[in-house]
């Protein structure tokens, strides 16, 4: 079929190229040496066993022969024309890669798949995984996490025993009122002095909740607001948010690894960290909703939380003016204060 194609052939044993011509006969590729000093019989290869090159705009065409030989054709378009004339078919992936319109469709498809995994796939998958992991795992991670925090940021509390017990008693009574069905998650309450964190509270996986002395002082005459903060942390415990975020972070870094397949660890870690960060706002909103609902169930108004934000804002302003002490950046991942104040003020039970 068609004209034979003059080209260059390597036998796989010597790096010396030889002039040959190619033609297709039936289901065989026939290779005839053109430079032989004495007559050499043509070589025949079954078409099915020949590994054809993929069509591309750039680069030479290399065809692998079953005996280890190689046909190398420098003129790419000449090769493609000859090859198409032989009636051979290429892989649909190759056609796709050469068409800009199909590529545009692939961009849209890839973006759609990525967005779907971001908004739906990752949260659903992480909830699925996190809910199926044993609770003992949460506890171990929480214990390790607290040990690390103790080493780096936290100091033993300076509140006296009586005061801690009073807070814990009040909190225990609240939990019982807020969970009349007795479905409260297991929790443990600890107090720590944290001059670097300032007024703050943390929930670790496994039900360990930590309140800083600074927060207790800030809300010393607003015990209901302190209860609200703890209810927010209990929401994290209830939803197993600590574990959820860990699973989300590993899923995200896996996806980023797929997109930038050959990226170095450093470049890939930055977008993964940024993406994980933005998930945490959703998690905070969910914990706020839990706190509001449980405050209401226990007969308290969710608006008690407003005094927390007001006091935090005042403390921040004072620090700015005094110019000593560090900004409470620990709350930076939470939604903006105004938004949260509005949420707690305007909250109404869905009934």
């Amino acid at each position: 079929m068609g004209e034979p194609l003059p080209t260059r052939w390597f036998d796989g044993r010597s790096p010396r190229g030889r002039a040959v011509q190619l033609r297709v006969e039936g289901d065989e590729l026939v290779l005839e040496p053109l430079d032989a000093e004495r007559a050499e019989p043509p070589r025949r290869y079954p078409l099915r066993e020949v590994r054809w090159p993929e069509r591309r705009t750039h680069g030479q065409r290399q065809t692998e022969l079953p005996d280890g030989g190689l046909i190398q054709h420098a003129d790419a378009s000449g090769w493609d024309a000859w090859w198409a004339a032989q009636g051979l078919r290429e892989s649909w992936v190759v056609g796709w890669q050469q068409s800009w319109r199909a590529t545009a469709a692939a961009v849209v498809g890839a973006v759609a798949v990525l967005l779907a995994s971001w908004f739906w796939g990752v949260p659903v998958a992480s909830q699925f995984v996190a809910q199926r992991l044993p609770l003992s795992l949460d506890e171990r991670i929480g214990r390790d996490g607290l040990a690390q925090l103790d080493r780096a940021l936290l100091k033993p509390t300076r509140l006296d025993e009586a005061r801690r017990q009073a807070i814990e008693r009040r909190w225990r009574a609240f939990v019982e009122r807020a969970h009349p069905e007795g479905d409260a998650p297991a929790w443990r309450l600890s107090f720590r002095d944290a001059p670097e964190l300032g007024p703050n509270a943390l929930a670790l996986p496994g039900g360990q909740m930590v309140v800083t002395d600074q927060l207790v002082e800030l809300l010393h005459d607003r015990p209901d607001a302190l209860t609200g903060v703890l209810a927010h942390e209990l929401g994290h415990v209830r939803h197993r948010d600590g574990l959820d975020m860990l699973v989300r972070a590993s899923l995200l870094s896996a996806i980023v690894g797929v997109v930038f397949g050959d990226a170095s660890g450093f470049i890939a870690s930055v977008p993964a960290a940024l993406l994980t960060q933005s998930y945490s706002r959703d998690v905070e909103r969910r914990a706020d909703a839990y706190a509001a609902e449980r405050l209401d169930r226990a007969g308290l108004s969710p608006a008690v939380m407003v005094s927390l934000f007001e006091r935090l804002a005042t403390a921040r302003k004072n620090q700015d003016r005094d110019a000593d002490g560090v900004l409470p950046i620990a709350l930076a991942s939470h939604p903006a204060d105004e938004e949260r104040i509005r949420f707690f003020r305007e909250w109404a039970p869905e009934r």
């Binding site: 796989g12 010597s14 290399q62 890669q97 498809g109 997109v259 050959d262 170095s264």
Partner: protein, 392 residues
């Protein structure tokens, strides 16, 4: 286009010696074409839950190698993607088993990690064998001939700092919850940690030298087996210069941070300046330190790689590489990642076209060395997993 010159020959030498030709290395890949390959591969990898990965990888390597011209002849890549697929499955299962057990059963995960660490030099060697065996130039397959013992000996110096870290872990005091370490204990642990890190930094160039000597001493093309003529001293020189650049970055970032604190104190503006300095450090560190190291290592390793009738040249400039890297990063950030494949092509061109191959005599007369048995693809998949490549 092969220009013939007489590099490395004394003027007036008798003409009996074969002439030396310099074969330039060129890269003909295009960003727009690789973009299309990348995006189609990406979609297929995503919708197949990464099962398409080895096929995408085979196509990617083939694109880069087929567009790498040594003299006028491109490199070939011949790996069977189905074989790579099997290796990928095995490594993926290994990784999955580790990921699942690392949080639930730390002892099992530790055992898996230990097994992998012990197998690592063997896997690394297998991945080099697979990659070279499936790479050709002028129809002749390359091969990697480093032996198994050599692979383990190359990594042996790493044992020293690893043992140091183990000792450090064992000597850490057990703390009750809520109790901080005493200041003396903290100081002691800090000093020990610094000591182990210093040991690590001291051993690294030695280890790198051994690894590169093994790697670049094992390449074969036809009758040519390469060796790396760079000694441990040169690798310590590289380590010192890299440390110098690192110190420079630390000084710049530290100066800005100190300036911020000094001028604005601990106010919002001061904190802003401080975090700006940290962000600058994040940018400058890979920009200057990693780029300098990449260029210097490529030049050191390839400039000193030679065989009986060949030697490589590599003159990759720090400025050129830094320019390419800076533009790449800027455009990747501006296009939300879509520039990525273009960046890969630009980077490959900058690195490859800084190199050349010098050949004594005629390549046509070389004969291929008898090929040995096929090397399984498992090593290749493992190598990809951990980001080991040929140093190019």
């Amino acid at each position: 286009m092969n220009n013939i010159d007489r590099l490395g020959e004394a003027p007036g030498a008798p003409d009996a010696r074969p002439p030396v030709q310099t074969l330039p290395i060129r890269f003909t890949g295009s960003g727009s074409e690789y973009f299309r390959i990348w995006i189609v591969n990406l979609l297929l990898v995503l919708v197949t839950f990464t099962l398409y990965w080895p096929f995408a990888r085979a196509r990617r390597i083939a694109y880069f190698q087929n567009n790498t011209l040594v003299g006028d002849d491109p490199l070939g890549f011949h790996a069977n993607p189905w074989k790579m697929f099997r290796g990928y499955l095995v490594v993926a299962l290994f990784g999955l088993a580790y990921g699942v057990t690392s949080e639930t059963a730390p002892l099992v995960a530790g055992a898996i990690f230990l097994v992998f660490a012990l197998l690592w030099p063997a896997l690394w060697r297998a991945s080099l064998q697979f990659r070279l065996r499936n790479t050709s130039w002028r129809g002749v397959r390359l091969s990697f001939e480093g032996d198994l013992k050599g692979a383990y000996l190359a990594f042996a110096p790493l044992l020293l700092p690893v043992l140091g870290f183990v000792a450090l872990g064992l000597s850490a005091p057990d703390l009750a919850p809520g109790e901080g370490a005493s200041p003396e204990e903290r100081r002691r642990m800090g000093l020990l940690f610094l000591g182990v890190m210093a040991l690590f930094a001291l051993v690294m160039p030695w280890c790198l030298a051994r690894i590169k000597q093994y790697q670049h001493g094992g390449y074969r093309f036809a009758g040519e087996r390469t060796e790396l003529r760079a000694g441990v001293r040169q690798f310590y020189g590289l380590g010192l210069r890299t440390g110098g650049v690192m110190l420079l970055v630390v000084l710049i970032v530290g100066a800005i941070a100190a300036l911020g604190v000094g001028l604005a104190g601990r106010t919002a503006a001061g904190v802003l300046m401080l975090s700006g300095a940290v962000a600058l450090g994040y940018l400058l560190f890979p920009m200057l330190v990693v780029t300098h190291y990449t260029a210097a290592l490529q030049n050191l390793v390839w400039q000193n790689t030679r065989s009986r009738n060949t030697r490589f040249r590599s003159g990759l400039g720090f400025g050129a590489l830094a320019r390419v890297t800076a533009v790449n990063w800027l455009l990747i950030a501006l296009t939300l990642g879509l520039y990525w494949p273009f960046a890969q092509v630009r980077l490959a061109r900058a690195r490859l076209e800084a190199m050349a191959l010098q050949v004594k005599g005629s390549v046509n007369d070389w004969l291929a060395h008898a090929q040995r048995r096929d090397v399984g693809p498992l090593g290749d998949a493992a190598g990809d997993f951990f980001g080991i490549d040929m140093g190019l």
